[in-house]
Amino acid sequence: MSPVLQGAITILVGVGGCIGYFYLANLILDKVIFPARRDDAGRNINRANAVRPWLFLVPAILALGLYLVYPVVGSFWRSLFNRGGDEFIGLDNYISLIADEGFRTAFFNNFLWVLVVPAMATFLGLLVAQLTDRLRWGNIAKSLIFMPMAISFVGASLIWKFVYANDADIGIINAIRASAGMDVLDPLQVPFWNNFFLMVILIWIQTGFAMVILSAALRGIPEETVEAAIIDGANPLQVFFRIKVPQIMGTIVVVWTTITILVLKVFDIVYTMTGGNYGTEILPSYMMSYMFRDDGRATAVAFVIMLVVMPVMIWNIVQARKEMH
């Protein structure tokens, strides 16, 4: 069966199945299990209403449980076993990870990514949002800067190969160097800094995201506060940093954390640009080199990533609970 046909059938079965499930489950609940009839009508309606939310939630809970909760537990459990998966070795995988220099490099690089990318993307996004705020062609400028959001990491990496290429006729950086009389070099092989050149790609992609959200937040600031400050003689910089930024701090933090989470998932850029060579390995690409060869180690790496995002997760949950109360 051709995958296209298979896809069409899946859409039909999936969509039909979902609608059918919700409709029928609802019907059965109301008409068969707890019919609103005769003397216990009231009680039955209440009972049905107590069950209904779960009807609506069951598919989602199943999918979430299977595809996100189970993997966390499953991965952790797997990481306690040896490479073949037949011998329980406790935390040995984690111990040997810490002893491995490659892992330490990957961890340190990942740390740099987490530090730099969200900060730079948020900062640039805020900058563009503010600059374009009153501009007549602001919307066009914003969509152009937002555009990389639509490009895959693989596509973006290819695009940036035309910037970094080790050839003055192809790479822009080397063309500029050559016209300034400098030697051609491969930016991706410059130790330590090459990590930052790779980060630029992700910053390039994510700035638009930060910009869009922060620009909406800027628009939401009550005019009066800004006007009052201007009347008090504040200059534009002061207005921006003293009045506007504090008011949108909440949104800035949300943007920051969202990008942080993304950074910890991205492996495509390193995979296509350097393959983890030249000291640019990060945890997700380091994990790839072990995956399905030594699953014990691979899952241990994945769990380390999980531990790194844990604070973000807890912070997110606390925030969400705060909002609800």
């Binding site: 490479r83 220099e101 080790n166 491969d186 393959g275 060579n277 030249y278």
Partner: protein, 449 residues
């Protein structure tokens, strides 16, 4: 620069249409054409009918190599009525383990490394070849026993069986050059490693660049450097040391191994010796790097690479090779490094076994041979079919080698030979210390034992 671009894109379109047409039974060489062993083809066709079946295969061949391989597979389709689906991948080494894990491996996998195949056989992912295959290889391949040994692994229960059938082998100890460029510059072919070093220095002194070296190969980046090191091992240490190194009886960080790595460094880590400077070595794709020999002015004069590389030369370029020489000062003979791809059954089916029988026919070798970049130890093929005398010569080197050693990285466990060794060599070419790199690889090796 390259002039044939228009023609090239025309050729690409031709190949494309040929690819489509092949499904209709169009064959690149019409059966009956002179010199080919059509009897073997007819006999095979008469014995097999697999109409309606599909044979899936995967391997490391992409691009032009994949097209060449598919041109061979077309004869299998024609003979049996089965459909062959081949998919090549640059990250074959990763993909095949994932596929085996998920039980979705294709019928046949073409392994560039016996080491990886050995791992998978031990894990129970391979099916032993039919009884009698080993005897066939012994009788029909030059140095048959060694090919049997290289393809024999321990299964999941620990008992040895023949899992891998070698098809398409390569001689690695070759240096490619452009005769016209050598002639115009007045350079002579070096007969010893000492002379090769002198020539390297002479070309650099002339203000030119002697070597093109490229290690880029997607997820497999770094492997061309392992070939250099292996060739250097055979030229600086006795073959027994080489064997001990492969088996990890001497550690990777042994001074003899480190010395071989540094021999490679003499060529690759000198900005004056390599096209684009030492930094370009790791990032240039191995398929692109030889192109520098054929530009005007030449970007380099020599390229050390296996026999398959002419497939990636620009169309119509004149090229020749000489044997990567040994040191006259060291009494180690003239060693030859080789390698080969082996086919193993990753998902049992009648068509898969039929395929293994198919690659025993001379015709399966001759079709590729007659086109480009294919050597074979098969005794039954018509060597007149090689398109050039030089390829015949290479095959002779292969068949006549006294000290022949198989590519070490291919024999090492997958995580070393198809992992740590590669990335270690990338580290080394980009400036890491040879001892540190070798120690790191040994540590990884220790961690998997």
């Amino acid at each position: 620069m390259r002039r044939n671009t228009k023609f090239l894109s025309g050729a690409a379109i031709l190949m494309l249409t040929a690819g489509v047409a092949q499904a209709d039974g169009h064959l690149i060489i019409t059966p009956g054409a002179g010199g080919f062993d059509w009897d073997s083809y007819e006999a095979f066709a008469a014995a097999h009918d697999l109409s309606g079946q599909t044979l899936t295969m995967t391997g490391p061949w992409t691009g032009l190599d994949a097209e060449l391989f598919e041109s061979v597979a077309a004869y299998f389709e024609e003979a049996t009525g089965a459909e062959v689906r081949y998919s090549g991948s640059d990250s074959f080494e990763q993909d095949i383990v994932i596929a085996a894990q998920a039980d979705s491996a294709p019928n046949i996998a073409v392994f560039p490394q016996p080491g990886l195949a050995r791992d998978m056989a031990a894990g129970g992912s391979l099916t032993p070849l039919a009884d009698g295959t080993a005897d066939w290889v012994r009788e029909n391949y030059a140095a048959g026993q060694s090919w049997v040994d290289l393809g024999t692994f321990a299964g999941p229960d620990g008992s040895d069986a023949l899992y891998g059938f070698f098809y398409k082998v390569d001689v690695k100890s070759l240096v490619w050059y452009s005769p016209e460029a050598f002639d115009e510059a007045g350079y002579d072919i070096p007969a010893t490693m000492e002379e090769l070093r002198d020539l390297t220095e002479q070309i650099a002194a002339d203000g030119e660049t002697p070597w093109c070296i490229g290690l880029g190969s997607g997820a497999a980046t770094g492997w061309p450097a392992t070939d250099w090191v292996e060739d250097m091992m055979l030229r600086t240490a006795p073959p027994e040391v080489y064997d001990a190194w492969v088996a990890n009886d001497i550690p990777f960080s042994d001074p003899q191994v480190v010395a071989a790595i540094e021999e490679f460094g003499y060529f690759a880590r000198n900005d004056d010796f390599v096209n684009g400077g030492a930094a370009a070595v790791a990032s240039t794709d191995f398929r692109d790097s030889p192109g520098g020999m054929f530009t005007f002015p030449p970007e380099c004069y020599m390229h050390r690479q296996a026999s398959f590389i002419p497939t990636f030369f620009p169309e119509g370029s004149d090229s020749a090779f000489f044997y990567f020489p040994a040191y006259a000062g060291k009494d180690l003979g003239s060693p030859v490094l080789g390698a080969g791809t082996l086919m193993a059954i990753t998902n049992d089916s009648p068509a898969a076994h039929a395929w293994i029988e198919f690659v025993q026919t001379p015709i399966a070798h001759e079709i590729w041979m007659a086109q480009s970049g294919f050597l074979t130890p098969h005794n039954g093929v018509n060597t007149k079919l090689f398109p050039t005398a030089s390829q015949r010569e290479m095959n002779d080197i292969l068949l006549g080698a006294t000290t022949f050693r198989f590519d070490a990285s291919d024999l090492m466990p997958g995580e070393i030979g198809a992992g740590a060794f590669w990335s270690g060599m990338v580290d080394y070419t980009t400036g890491a210390d040879a001892t540190d790199v070798a120690t790191g690889i040994q540590e990884r090796w220790d961690s998997i034992q």
